[in-house]
C-alpha cells in the first residue's frame, strides 16, 4: 500500500523543483526556442511560396522573352527587307539621277558644241565673205581695167533692169 500513499517530503521537493524548472525554462529557454522554431517555419513557408512565385514569374518571363525574340526576328527580317528595298530604290534613284545628270551634261555639251560650231561658221562665213569680197574686188579690178568693158557691164546691167 505504501506505493499508493504519496510521501509529503517528495511532494514538497517535487513542487519546489518543478516550479524552479518551469520558471527557469519559461523565462530563459522556451520563448527563444519556440520563437526560433516558429520563425523558421514561417520563413520556410514564405520561402516555398516565394519560390513558387519566382518559378511562375520565370516561366512568364521565358514566355515574354520568347515572344520578344520572335518579334525581334520578325522585325529584323522586315528591316532587312526594307533595307533591301531601300537599297534598290536608292540605286534606282541614283541611276535615274545620274542618267538625268548625264543627259544634262550631254545637252550642255551639245549646246556649247553647237554654239561653237555656229560661232565658227559665222566667223568662217565672215572670213569667206571677206575673202570673196577681196577676191571679187581683185577680179573686178582686173576686169574693169579698161573703159570698154566698163560700159559693156553697165549696159548689160541696164538691160537686166529694163527687162525686169
Amino acid at each position: 500500500m505504501e506505493l499508493f500513499t504519496p510521501e509529503f517530503g517528495l511532494i514538497f521537493w517535487m513542487f519546489v523543483s518543478f516550479a524552479i524548472l518551469f520558471f527557469i525554462l519559461a523565462r530563459f529557454a522556451w520563448p527563444w526556442i519556440l520563437k526560433s522554431i516558429d520563425e523558421r517555419a514561417r520563413m520556410i513557408d514564405e520561402g516555398v511560396e516565394k519560390t513558387r512565385q519566382a518559378e511562375e514569374s520565370l516561366a512568364n518571363a521565358k514566355l515574354t522573352a520568347e515572344r520578344y525574340e520572335k518579334e525581334a526576328v520578325a522585325r529584323q527580317a522586315e528591316i532587312l527587307r526594307e533595307a533591301d528595298r531601300m537599297k534598290t530604290q536608292i540605286i534606282e534613284e541614283a541611276r535615274g539621277q545620274a542618267s538625268v545628270e548625264a543627259k544634262k551634261v550631254l545637252e550642255a555639251a551639245q549646246l556649247s558644241i553647237e554654239q561653237m560650231r555656229k560661232e565658227a561658221q559665222a566667223r568662217m562665213r565672215d572670213e569667206v565673205s571677206a575673202l570673196a569680197i577681196d577676191i571679187a574686188t581683185k577680179v573686178v579690178r582686173q576686169q574693169m581695167a579698161d573703159d570698154e568693158s566698163q560700159s559693156k557691164l553697165v549696159n548689160s546691167l541696164l538691160d537686166e533692169i529694163s527687162n525686169n
Binding site: 506505493l3 517530503g9 517528495l10 511532494i11 524548472l21 525554462l25 522556451w30 526556442i33 522554431i37
Partner: protein, 356 residues
Amino acid sequence: MCFLMKKLIVYISILLVAALMALGWARTESHEGQEINPKEIIFEHLGDAYGWELPFNHDIRLPLPIIIRAEDGSWHCFSSSCVAHGAVHDGRFAIGDEASGYNGKVIELRPDGSVYRPLDFSITKNVAALFVTVIVVASVFLSLARYYRRNGMKAPRKFKGAMEFLVDFIYGGIVKPTLKDKAPKFAPYLMTVFMFIFVANLLGLVVIFPGGANLTGNIAITLVLALFTFFMTNVFGTKHYWKDVFWPDVPLWLKFPLPIMPVIEVFGVFTKPAALTVRLFANMMGGHMIVIVLTLLIFIFAAMNVWVGGVTSVVSVLFSVFMLLIDVLVSFIQAFVFTMLSTLFISLAQEGGHEE
C-alpha cells in the same frame, strides 16, 4: 542466409554462456544469505530509499542527506549512512521495520518505546533523481536556447537537432494545433511537463546510478504534475468554462431542482487530474515491476535447479530486454499522453463560447 544462421548461433551461444555465468553467481548469492524475498526486492526497487544503490554491490549505498523535523520541533540533518543497517542515530532516529508500521521510513523512537514519524524532507533516492532530471532538462534546453540566441535561425545539428525535433513534435504537433493563438501562453508549461516526464521516464530505465529511480512511477510525482495542470486549467479558465461547469447547456430538469449535471461536471473537474495522476503512475510503475519480476525469475528458479534456472535466465533476459524496449516506447507515449491531455484540458477551459 548461411551467414545469418552462423550469426544467430554465435549470439545464442553467447547468451547461453552468459546465462550459465549468471546462474553460478545467482546460486552463490542466494546461498550466501537467507532465502530471497521477491516481494521485498520488488517493493524496494519500486519505492523510495534513503540511499542510492551503487552498481555491482547490494550493500554499498550512496549516502544521501536526511532532513527531518523531530517531535520536539527541532530540525535534524544527517547522512543516511548513520541509520543504515539498523543503526540508531542520535539515540532516537532509525529506519522503521514492518512492525513499526513505517517500513523503510525514518522514525523517531520515543522513550516509552512507541514510535513517531517525523516530518520528512529528506533528499531520498527519488528526490535526488528528481534533481538529476531537473538539471538534465534545464541544461539541455538552456543550451538549446543559447544556441538559438547565438545562431538565430540556423537549424541545429546532431543532439540539438534531435532536441529541436522533439520540441517541434510536441509544440507543432499538439500544443499549437490545439491551443492556436493561446499557444504561446501555455506552451512553456506544457513543454516543461513533457520534457520533465520524458527525461524522468528514460532515466528511470537506466538501471544503474544515476538512473534507476522509479520517479514517474511514484504517485507523489504524478500527483504534483497533475495538480499543476489542474491549476493551469482552472486558474486560467474562461467565464464560459465556469458557466459550463455550473450551468451547462442541458435541459432544465437536468440541473434544476436537482443539480445532476453540475454535480457531474464539478466531479469531472477533479477526475481529470486524478486520471492524469493514475495513468502515468500506473504505466511507469507497471513497466518497472515487470522488468524486475522477470529478472527475479532467474533467482527464484536458480534456487530450484541448475538447468531450470539456466533455461529461465535465457528466457527472462530476452523478455526483460523486450520489456525494456517496450518501456522506452511507453516512456515516450506516456509523456506524450500526459502532455496531450493537459493541452486538451487547458484548451477546453479556454473556449470562448459556441459562436466561434
